[in-house]
Symmetry: C2
Subunit: 224 residues, 2 copies
DNA sequence: TGCTATCGGAGCGTTTCGCTCCGAATGAAG
DNA sequence: CTTCATTCGGAGCGAAACGCTCCGATAGCA
């Protein structure tokens, strides 16, 4: 089943570690695809693991979500750092967006609205945003980013495209998303288009999604 | 709006008709925002109507969804016809996309995957697609649509942007969506960008969403 | 061959949800 | 004003779904 070279280390514990990762991978796919409403049973099945194995490592569904959220944010931070190290700003930015969409970071971030957030999560989120701002600044300095586009515009774009979760590689869904993403990225690029409509997205609004609504009681559904 | 020659439609019956429409409007907003999983209680509350009034008019949640689906498709057909009558192809296409996104047609269409589809629905869907193809053809002929872009590319774009439902007017959510939509539309326009990646979306895959999935509708099971 | 750590998943208690049912409210007719 | 037909609102029911626990089965190790 696994690499024989590692089996000798610790027989059963190796399986435990493997399960740990498989659960995390499955959870990311399932949550990204179905939202926070996805069931733990589906995650366990997708991971090929029993409920017991899942719950021994993650005390609750919320724990799993939190861990996943952190992982997604850290991945996007890595992608941003890689982008800043890229030879030119545009390929860096483009790669960043592709990476975030492909990994489903954008699909996971809004899930934060349905759990209690730790200060650590806020810090990580802010660090990611700061890096993205550097990325946007650099792109503007090099003249490859359309006038008026802010870091938050890019963040929202990533979130929009990640909504449906990481399309399985090789599927037509993935191909379609890549086409639409290519179209949107071209619109993001600097060319002779008019100014963007309306005011730029605010940080306050971007962060508001993270505040846990006291109760999902039906009936709010209100503007603002 | 009142029918003067029908004196019978007054008093309580007038309220009934008003309720019917309010339910339909509320249902469109709620389903578009929360997907097919939205609860009927939320719809009734949003409409300011009791469950009784809702269920006397629409036999089941599925009935409501079907009606809504048809309405969304017919609206998009009207938008397409208006676009074909526009003075130039680009403003027509742009208005079409804006209208569909604003009304949430793109958010309602994928809901079809969770109900039994009638032949009438298929016919309406196809008619809408044919009109959209005429729209794309005209735009290509006038040289305002990026090479390689097909009608289905536009259809998927509308669906992507409609996913979250029609953002309430005046909210920052709506402003953000407009910005991203403006960006994507500019990418759709004819300019000196490279070719689009991958093959164009296929009609088969687009229609596949309509086939009832292995998940046999968790909601209603007893009534048809 | 036992012993221990880990695994899988059936089942429990709770919550949610679609839908029904009925008393209250409304307005027309007498 | 009283009567009656019609429509309204929402409490509550039965069923289904879900998060989570618990335990018998199983795989490594001495």
């Amino acid at each position: 089943m696994a690499e024989p070279q590692y089996r000798s280390r610790r027989g059963r514990q190796a399986e435990a570690e493997r399960n740990d990762r498989r659960v995390l991978d499955a959870a990311r796919e399932v949550f990204a695809a179905h939202g926070a409403g996805a069931t733990v049973a589906e995650i366990a099945e997708r991971a090929g693991v029993g409920m017991g194995s899942l719950y021994r490592r993650y005390g609750s569904k919320s724990d799993l979500l939190r861990q996943l959220c952190m992982q997604a944010m850290e991945e996007s931070i890595q992608a941003a750092e890689a982008a800043l190290a890229a030879p030119d700003a545009w390929t860096g930015l483009s790669d960043y967006v592709h990476a975030c969409v492909a990994r489903g970071s954008g699909a996971l971030a809004p899930l934060a609205g349905s759990l209690e957030t730790t200060p650590e999560m806020w810090e990580t989120s802010r660090r990611g945003r700061r890096l993205l701002e550097q990325l946007a600044d650099r792109a503007h300095r090099e003249g490859v980013l359309r006038a008026g586009v802010t870091a938050l515009d890019v963040a929202w774009l990533v979130e929009f495209f990640g909504r449906r979760g990481p399309a399985a590689p090789g599927t037509e869904d993935e191909a379609i998303r890549r086409r639409l993403l290519a179209i949107s990225l071209d619109g993001l690029r600097n060319h002779d288009a008019g100014p963007l409509p309306g005011p730029a997205p605010s940080a306050r609004h971007y962060e508001r999604r993270w505040q846990l609504e006291p109760k999902p009681t039906p009936g709010d559904t209100q503007h603002d």
